[in-house]
Amino acid sequence: MLTAAEARKNAPLWVRLLLPKDAPLYQRNDALFGWLMAFPALLILTVFLVIPFLMAFVVSFTNQRLISPNPAEWMGLRNFERLLSVRAFTLEPERDDSGAIVYQDGGIVYPRLRNFTRKNPNYPELDGLREFTSWQSGDNRTVILVADVVFLRALINTLVFASVIAPLQGGLALLLALLLNQALPFINVFRAIYFAPVVVSMVVVSLLWRFIYDGNNGLLNNLLGILSFGSFQPVDWLGNPYTALPAIMAMSVWQAVGFHMVIWLAGLQTIPASLYEAASLDGAGGWQKFRFVTWPGLRNTAVLVLIVITIQAMGFFVQVDVMTRGGPLDATQSVVYQAVQRGYDKQDIAEGSAISVILFAIVFVISMTQRYLTRERR
């Protein structure tokens, strides 16, 4: 009589590879079938998810292009430096021979910035940087110099976009969910209506809202004109650098708020009715019920909703591509839009990958925060 371990030793290679160590030999068909059934999906996930993901990290350290006769070379951190370098630099005023500050037209005269940033041997670390922003500090002028003005704009826009969208959309979605979470006839009709934009493509929504936001005949300007009895001055919502990003935010909330409303609703329905009855018996009013029954019951949903919105918002691209192409004055540049511009339009896969890695780093931190927040009080 053979022991299980001995039988295993004599079995063919595939059995030894696939069968779990503690499983009896007669289950070898299970192991083979199980592996075969999972194989097609695993192959595709490997080729189109795992490999691209790992490649993003490798390629971002090279100068890989989509199509190139030359093999890619290792560049170290060059791509990341080119994207992320930020330096503060202080310009001191021009002084005349007596050491007094030179004024012209009522303002202090400073040396030209490009004397320092264009191949100045005394300032090699500033070479090629450009001014991002600057401010006055005493007589001096502090200048923030960056290597890639457009990418930094895109990064800031994306972070602003996500940090406005997350509380705004999450909060509105909760209000809608609370409104829908009552036993009224036809409530499902309203739920269906509020959710409808979610199934409409963002491409369609963006193009439609381009007309709504139009500076001349746009619906929004007309509506505001009617509501203010004609005193409202029409705004070119997407053509003005101050309104373009907020306009895209408002539209994005309109499109996606139903999605998160449904997640809140599912969360609301897990709160037992008996808790509300108990609260009523204790004399709790509407707000107190929300504060002490509803909200504590929604804690994990809240974290989930905020994280999901934030991660979705970090990837915003279609709105920019269809509505503004990053303009006006880079006011609507986004990280993914820049990744596509460089990785696809300019075929610079390496730089596009470096941008993707930066995006993943941000998303990873957000996801880990979620893990941490939901684990804490379980």
Binding site: V50, I51, V203, V204, G315, I349, S356
Partner: protein, 293 residues
């Protein structure tokens, strides 16, 4: 304060709630309504109507001219065929591949399964946008057996629009969760009766997986029908372009809003009808996908 006034107050509060519900509903409906109504009007009238409530009504010079012109300007039939083809193949293939993998994870024992499953769950946090660019490089270097033998590069084809999306970790996980919660006796009883593994999958487990099949199908349908960023990067020729990328024709040319609205209506109305018909299933799919955690 008597019973009457309480009832009046109650009715008033109900009335106010409906007023609020309806007011909010208009915010969601009116842009879509505007799109459909404008698609029926000549450009000049559409611009004039946008200053009043007429924008949302089928009034004035109503016709299907915009549709006819949109058909003339771009090969809509070809685009629609491409989208229907890539979407339906992807939905069907993803149902098969994801459910097979999930079945294996839920019911069969093989070495390394636990690690593979936890890796699949870990990939949830990788958004498509992160891998899109390196995926372009991968797709550009994969071999394919074409009519002239082995070719390198998948760009500009149907398969580059389909194959990368026919397995996804969320789909596998949703099936897995459903299978895991089925009673063990179901499978054990079939085994004792001598059913093969494939028979258990195809005849016993899949036929009762209706709700999750609907969920995975709907999620995949939405992703594929609305696909934009990936076909934008991988498809060059017009004959292969899906319907959302086809919209780009209208960006550059002099803006003919009526035709745009006609095109937008054509790509949206079928989805909206589909959604309204299967409303509960759509909403439940989203709720399930959101709660994956």
């Amino acid at each position: 304060m008597n019973a009457m006034s309480f009832e009046t107050r109650h009715n008033l509060s109900i009335g106010l709630r409906y007023a609020l519900l309806i007011l909010i509903a208009t915010i969601f409906i009116f842009p879509i309504l505007f799109m459909v109504m404008s698609s029926l009007k000549p450009d000049l009238q559409m611009l004039r109507d946008s200053a009043s409530l007429r924008a949302f009504l089928p009034v004035g010079d109503i016709s299907l001219n915009n549709y006819a012109e949109a058909f003339e300007r771009v090969p809509i039939v070809q685009f629609a065929f491409n989208s229907v083809f890539t979407t339906s193949v992807s939905v069907a293939a993803s149902l098969l591949l994801n459910s097979m993998a999930a079945f294996s994870f839920a019911f069969l024992q093989w070495r390394g399964k636990a690690i593979v499953l936890s890796l699949i769950i870990a990939t949830f946090i990788v958004p498509f946008e992160v891998i899109a660019i390196p995926m372009l490089l991968v797709a550009n270097n994969l071999p394919w057996i074409g009519p002239e033998g082995i070719e390198i590069g998948w760009l500009n084809s149907y398969h580059v629009q389909i194959i990368p999306f026919i397995a996804d970790s969320l789909g596998i996980f949703l099936f897995y969760q459903y299978f895991r919660d089925l009673p063990d006796e179901l499978v054990e009883a079939a085994r004792i009766d001598g059913a093969s593994i494939w028979q258990i999958y195809a005849r016993i487990v899949m036929p009762i997986a209706g709700p999750i099949v609907a969920t995975v199908a709907i999620l995949k349908f939405l992703v594929m029908w609305n696909a934009y960023i990936w076909p934008l990067m991988t498809i060059r020729s017009e004959e292969l372009r899906p319907i959302m990328v086809g919209l780009q024709y209208f960006f550059q040319l002099n803006i003919a809003w009526g035709e745009i609205m006609a095109y937008l209506s054509m790509v949206t109305i079928p989805v909206l009808i589909f959604y309204l018909a299967l409303q509960r299933a759509f909403i439940e799919s989203i709720a399930t996908s959101g709660i994956k955690g």
